[in-house]
C-alpha cells in the first residue's frame, strides 16, 4: 500500500533554515525500559557525529530515524519529514551504511549496488549506470566486477557506502564506517566522507566509537548517555568552551598535587604511559594556578605545555558527569 504523501519540507526553528534532523522530546521504550528519555536536539546539516558509550541509545536513535520505531512521546523528523509517519519517504531520501558486514550474496559489486538502487525505486538502466559511477567514486574500480563475497573487509565497507549512495540521498547515516579497515583505507574512507559532505552537499550522521574519526569529519556532535543527550552542538565551540588543557610533568609526590588541583576545581588525569598529567581548568585561572598548586604541594614542575582539548576529553567529561 502506498503511504500518504508527506509535506515536501518543513520550515523549522527560526523559519529560515530547514533542519536536517530535528528530534523533540523523543521517548522510546522497549517494554518498560526507556532507551531514549525525552531526547531533543536539532542539526542544521553538514557532518554530525553521534557518540555515546554502549547502551547509550545510539542504535535506538538510528532505528527511530529510519522509521522502525514509534515514539512513546515526542517526534523525530528527518529532512523535515516525520520518520514514524512517513518511514518509506524518509528511507528514500536517506542512505544507511550498517555497522555489520551486510551483503547480498550472489551479486557482483555492480549488481549489488544496482540492486540497491532498484530497491530505492530507480529504473534498472539508471541504477546500473549509477552503480558503475558510484563504485568508481568509492574506489572499487575494476573490483566492481567481482562477486561481493570475495571482497576484503575494506572493500566491503566501500561497497556498503556505495549502496547507501547509489540513489543520491540527502542524508547518509553511517554506522561505524571505518570498522575493520587498515589505517590507509581508513584515512581514504574518512577523506571520502569529508568530500561527500563538503563538495557533494550530502549531509552525514556519523555514529562511531572512534572519536578521532568524528573529530576529523564532523562539524557538529551529539553525545548520548543512558538515553539522554548530554551535550550537542558545534564541535569547535564545544571544544573551545570554558576549559583550557595543560600537559604537565612534575617531580615529587603526585597525590598531594592532584588532590590540591581537584580541590580547586580542576579535572586531573594522569597518563601512565607518558608520565604526564592532563589538567583541565577554567580559562580565567591560567597556567599560574598550576605553579601555585605545585608550590603549595611541594612538587617541582618539569614540563608544562598548553594543549588542545580533544573530542575524547569532551566525551570523557560529559559521560563521567
Amino acid at each position: 500500500m502506498e503511504e500518504p504523501k508527506p509535506p515536501l519540507f518543513r520550515i523549522m526553528g527560526d523559519g529560515s533554515k530547514k533542519m536536517i534532523i530535528e528530534v523533540e522530546n523523543l521517548t522510546i521504550k522497549y517494554g518498560e525500559l526507556a532507551a531514549l528519555k525525552g531526547v531533543s536536539f536539532a542539526t542544521k546539516g553538514g557532518a554530525v557525529g553521534l557518540l555515546g558509550p554502549n547502551g547509550a541509545g545510539k542504535s535506538t536513535l538510528i532505528k527511530t530515524l529510519l522509521g522502525f520505531l514509534t515514539p512513546v512521546s515526542g517526534s523525530a523528523a528527518v529532512l523535515g519529514i516525520d520518520s514514524s509517519r512517513f518511514p518509506l519517504e524518509v528511507r528514500r531520501r536517506i542512505g544507511y551504511l550498517p555497522e555489520e558486514d551486510a551483503l547480498i550474496p550472489g551479486f557482483t559489486g555492480v549488481g549489488f549496488v544496482a540492486y540497491a538502487g532498484e530497491l530505492a525505486g530507480m529504473d534498472y538502466r539508471d541504477a546500473i549506470e549509477r552503480a558503475h559511477e558510484i563504485l568508481y567514486f568509492v574506489g572499487l574500480k575494476e573490483a566492481r566486477y567481482r562477486r561481493v563475497e570475495t571482497y576484503s573487509s575494506g572493500m566491503r565497507q566501500r561497497v556498503k557506502l556505495a549502496q547507501a549512495l547509489v540513489h543520491d540521498p540527502e542524508l547518509l547515516l553511517l554506522d561505524e564506517p571505518t570498522i575493520g579497515m587498515d589505517p590507509k583505507g581508513r584515512k581514504e574512507m574518512l577523506d571520502l566522507i569529508k568530500d561527500i559532505v563538503e563538495k557533494k552537499g550530502i549531509n552525514v550522521l556519523l555514529s562511531s566509537h572512534i572519536l578521532h574519526d568524528v573529530e576529523y569529519v564532523c562539524s557538529e556532535v551529539v553525545v548520548l548517555n543512558r538515553g539522554e543527550v548530554v551535550v550537542s552542538g558545534d564541535l569547535k565551540e564545544l571544544l573551545g568552551r570554558e576549559e583550557e588543557v595543560y600537559e604537565v610533568r612534575i617531580r615529587g609526590e603526585r597525590d598531594g598535587f592532584t588532590s590540591l588541583l581537584k580541590k580547586r576545581g580542576a579535572r586531573v588525569y594522569f597518563d601512565d604511559e607518558e608520565g604526564l598529567f592532563r589538567i583541565f581548568m577554567k580559562k580565567e585561572w591560567g597556567s599560574a594556578s598550576i605553579f601555585e598548586a605545585a608550590r603549595d604541594s611541594g612538587v617541582e614542575v618539569r614540563h608544562l605545555l598548553a594543549s588542545k582539548r580533544t573530542l575524547e576529553d569532551l566525551f570523557v567529561k560529559v559521560v563521567e558527569e
Binding site: E3, R91, P98, L119, F137, D195
Partner: protein, 281 residues
C-alpha cells in the same frame, strides 16, 4: 564521458512508485537462479513428465486402438500430473527457497533491504514471488500446455463439454501448491541462518506428517487421520478441484481448510521473523 573522468554526480532521474517495489526482488532473484546451471537442469528435468504425458495425449488421440492401461484423458489425468509434479516442487522449493531468507540473515542482507524504502511485506512478497514463480513454472505452465495439446491433437472437440472446467482446476490447484510450498519453505528459511536447516525442516514437515498418518491409519484402521498429512491433504484438495473421487475418507473441504490454515500460520510465522527493528543492531 568515460567513467574514470566522472566524480559524484547528483541523480536527476525519476524514482518509481512504491506499488511494485517487491517485483524488483522477485525479478533479480529469478534472474540469479536462472544463472545457476544445476538449477536450470532441474527445471528441464521437471518437464520430463510433461513430455511423457504429451506423448500419451498424442497416442491416445491419434491411435485410439492402442491400450494405455488405466490412463484416460479425463480430469484425473491432469490432477495426477500436478500431484506427481509435487516431487519436483519439493526439490525446486528446497533449491530456490531454503536459502532465500536464511542467507539474507546470515549475511545481514536484511539490513540492506529494510533500510531501503520497502516494507517487510514487500520483502516477503518479493521472496515469495521467486519461489512461486518456479513452482508455477513446473505446475501451471505444463498443466495448461497439456490441456492445450489435448485440444490441438483432437479432431473432435466435443470432449470439451465434459472437462471445460479443467483449466480452472489446473490454475486453482497450481496456485494452492505454489502458495503452500512457498510460504512453508520461506517460513522455515526465516527461522535461522542455515539454509540446510530450513531444507531438512521442510522435508521433515512434509514427509513426517505423512508417516504419522500412515502409522495412525495402520494402528486404528481409520483414514480420517489423513488430515494430519500435508501430502494426503494436497491429494484431497486436488480431488476436490478436479471433481475426482478422493483417496481418503475425510471430506476434501476439511483438507482445504487445513491447507489454508497452514498457509496462514506459516505466513504469520514468516511475518513475525522479518522485523525492521533488527536492521540496526
Amino acid at each position: 564521458m568515460p567513467i574514470y573522468e566522472l566524480g559524484y554526480r547528483h541523480f536527476k532521474g525519476e524514482f518509481k512508485g512504491h506499488t511494485h517495489r517487491f517485483l524488483t526482488i522477485t525479478k533479480r532473484g529469478v534472474a540469479l537462479l536462472f544463472k545457476k546451471r544445476r538449477f536450470l537442469y532441474l527445471i528441464i528435468l521437471s518437464f520430463i513428465p510433461f513430455v511423457v504425458r504429451g506423448v500419451v495425449i498424442y497416442i491416445a488421440t491419434h491411435y485410439p486402438q492402442v491400450r494405455l492401461g488405466a490412463l484416460t484423458l479425463d480430469p484425473k489425468f491432469y490432477r495426477d500430473f500436478l500431484f506427481q509434479q509435487i516431487f519436483f516442487v519439493l526439490i525446486i522449493s528446497l533449491y530456490a527457497g531454503s536459502g532465500l531468507i536464511a542467507n539474507d540473515i546470515r549475511y545481514n542482507a536484511l539490513q540492506i533491504y529494510l533500510s531501503k524504502p520497502i516494507t517487510r511485506f514487500d520483502y516477503i512478497a518479493g521472496k515469495f514471488g521467486i519461489v512461486s514463480f518456479f513452482i508455477l513454472l513446473v505446475t501451471l505452465i505444463p498443466g495448461l500446455l497439456l490441456f492445450l495439446l489435448r485440444i490441438l491433437f483432437s479432431d473432435d472437440l466435443s470432449f470439451l463439454s465434459d472437462i471445460y472446467f479443467v483449466p480452472f482446476s489446473i490454475i486453482g490447484y497450481s496456485f494452492i501448491i505454489a502458495v503452500f510450498f512457498s510460504v512453508l519453505i520461506l517460513a522455515l528459511s526465516a527461522l535461522g541462518r542455515s539454509a540446510r536447516f530450513a531444507g531438512i525442516g521442510f522435508l521433515a514437515i512434509y514427509f513426517l506428517s505423512d508417516v504419522l498418518f500412515q502409522i495412525l491409519r495402520g494402528m486404528f484402521r481409520d483414514s480420517n487421520f489423513a488430515l494430519l498429512s500435508f501430502r494426503a491433504n494436497m491429494s484431497q484438495v486436488g480431488a476436490m478441484l478436479f471433481g475426482t473421487s478422493p483417496r481418503f475418507s475425510p471430506p476434501p473441504l476439511a483438507s482445504l481448510a487445513i491447507v489454508i490454515l497452514s498457509i496462514l500460520l506459516f505466513f504469520i510465522l514468516l511475518h513475525r521473523r522479518i522485523r525492521g527493528v533488527e536492521v540496526v543492531k
